[in-house]
Symmetry: none
Subunit: 403 residues, 2 copies
């Protein structure tokens, strides 16, 4: 695992194009007929491509570590996922496609119930319906737009959840959660965990008081808890580090948000299907030299433990491989951010299948793009953070190190 | 290789049980009929288990590095063997099963011969017989029990070797050896290599003078050299780091000592055989969630260059595999701390065969638990320090990293 600083020194810009196709959570475990989803799916195009590619496996963060989407994607984009932490509030804001700036402080918030002695009696306000949430957020946004010089944006989520973004000068971390963590305790305000966070603390706590005031006639949702209060992490852009002109093609907001954090242009996909994503790739192919294409549903079905549907999404993805290849990218990499085995109905620590298609690869004797075949691949077992340097090298975008 | 701090943040406690079976030095090199000891031994149970497990190989410390038992075990237990150094004195004390505390300063000592001008003429006192050593240690212990407020414990070893443990307030490292390193030089006292070690220096040097005084009528063993003077390293316990309730089953004192350093409970084994160890496992199975079982003789015979006997110990170990499996641990890992090829008659740098049995593993096409088959395993070649995170993950004892 090389440092971002070293890679930065070596990168050069050229016309060669890299396509990174991420089948979210595609890696699996034996489940049906002793097969993984990749083994079970019929994938003639991926099979053919595998035989002409270099295969391998990648640990998203470290051996045995199950990553969330944030660190797993940072690794794929060439960033050290231990060094760069994405706060929960930032991820939530990314998850609703909020265009964050470096000034912003974001928090995930819950509507909650307090009694007349300011004791929190329900941290989720009885899980109010989403429609009620939307109504309350609209009301709050109308009443609370600014505190001091800080602009406030409120966006509703599902049930009791919403997101608040504070935008203004001098808002700094770290702050404690404004959440007593359990019921029966008093409203807890945020603490500044460093003197530089004093202004942020003042604004956030004034916000909580304003919310409580505006919602005073509500029976259930009459206050708010704020957690994961965080700034956009100071991540250098992919352009700065790798001299790439990168674009993201993703139908789910969270992944657009993650891509935005590393400076990718977010392309508009007309529609929701994988085919729509490939149409978007074709339409924008001349404007960028790095494309991140995100397929969400392999992960969603894995999370549901729905083996058959996950396998079907793999088959659907297989069908668009010729379309990508027809664009003749210098490098095509296909992998996942982490594994989501249907067997576990959740993310797991198992390494990602990884496929690298380029003219400059060593041969391997493989027949398909599966976990077991990837084990025989010429790339071996690597760390995911090494994927991007490998793509850059294969696209002739990395200079020699030393004389 | 992730830091202990990160793993600590992710660990959770649950009821799932992990059994780590360490066949000390089991990894080998081709020697007889072109086979290693594992290849030569008849191991029907391990063969069957291998086919249902994930195999791999682990570097104890780093590629090419031959480790001692201390660092090799620290890695297996999830500790960075470069960061945590176990002083030689501490290892010696552990090796005689001495129950060390955090106050203790331990030294490995030699009986030595000096002339009447205090010149060391034999650093090993002519390798006096062990019986003589025992007699002298008894005499010394009777005469020297305390210096200032420091309790002194003397334990005999083999030939000229013994161990001294100093127990009291304010005994600190670092100290130089009290050993001129070669004959013909004067008695050398310990030096404090830091002002905080002044008290320890005073006590140790007073101890050397007292020994010399008590032994003044001896012809050969009339003084002592003290080396590797060290405190118990400040290693966080496995409970603190990994939220495990760990127990050690080992017939040799050194390994009980190492396990004690990381906070394991040391279980009493009735007898000396591998079967006795498994009886101990069964008797204590409900009380712990992590068991370290140590098989010594694979290493001992490897050190002797005794290929046939090492292979026999492997066969003996093979017989108890069904007993362990009948307990249905969530995770069973089988490996060595380091390799001890009969060909080399000593520890070596070759990676350890590693077997992980759990419901959450990827398949591999293997037929046996041998070095060559492990190379085809789905775990690949890892570092030994990653073994414990992998066991924890497989036992669902590691939370997701990041959102």
């Amino acid at each position: 695992m090389l440092s971002e600083e070293l890679i930065k020194k070596l990168t050069v810009s050229n016309e060669n194009k890299i396509v990174l196709l991420v089948m979210d959570g595609v890696g699996g475990l034996p489940f049906k007929d002793g097969k993984t989803e990749l083994e079970y799916a019929k994938t003639p195009n991926l099979d053919k491509l595998a035989k002409e590619s270099a295969l391998g496996l990648t640990h998203p963060v470290g051996v045995g570590i199950t990553p969330g989407s944030g660190p797993a994607h940072l690794s794929l984009f060439g960033y050290d996922p231990i060094r760069h932490l994405i706060g929960r509030g930032i991820l939530e804001a990314a998850g609703i496609d909020f265009p964050l700036t470096k000034q912003d402080l974001a928090a995930r918030a819950n509507f909650a119930t307090k009694d007349d002695k300011d004791i929190i009696t329900d941290r989720r306000a009885g899980r109010i319906p989403t429609e009620k949430n939307e109504e309350l957020c609209e009301k709050l946004q109308k009443e609370i737009t600014k505190i001091e010089d800080v602009e406030i944006t409120i966006r509703s989520g599902k049930e009791h959840r919403f997101v608040v973004v504070f935008r203004g000068e001098g808002l700094e971390e770290p702050l404690s959660d404004a959440d007593p963590q359990k019921t029966g305790l008093k409203i807890k305000y945020a603490d500044a965990l460093d003197p530089k966070a004093e202004k942020a603390k003042r604004i956030i706590n004034a916000f909580i008081d304003r919310v409580t005031e505006v919602l005073k006639d509500e029976k259930q949702a009459n206050t708010a808890l704020l957690r994961g209060i965080a700034k956009v992490p100071p991540i250098p852009s992919m352009e700065e580090l790798f001299k790439l002109k990168p674009a993201a093609i993703a139908t789910y907001p969270m992944y657009r948000g993650l891509a935005r954090l590393v400076g990718m242009d977010i392309l508009k996909v007309k529609g929701e299907t994988i085919k729509d994503e490939i149409t978007c790739l074709k339409d924008n192919y001349n404007k960028y030299d790095f494309f991140y294409i995100h397929i969400k549903k392999t992960d969603s079905y894995g999370e549901d433990g729905n083996f058959d549907s996950k396998a079907k999404v793999i088959e659907e993805t297989d069908k668009i491989i010729p379309d990508i290849l027809s664009l003749k990218p210098s490098v095509l990499a296909i992998t996942s951010d982490h594994s989501t085995p249907s067997l576990l109905s959740g993310h797991s620590w198992h390494p990602n299948p990884f496929l690298l298609h380029s003219p400059y690869i060593r041969k391997n004797e493989v027949s398909r793009f599966t976990e077991t075949e990837c084990l025989k691949g010429s790339l071996g077992i690597m760390y995911a953070i090494d994927s991007l340097p490998l793509m850059l090298a294969s696209a002739m975008k990395l200079n020699k190190y030393g004389a």
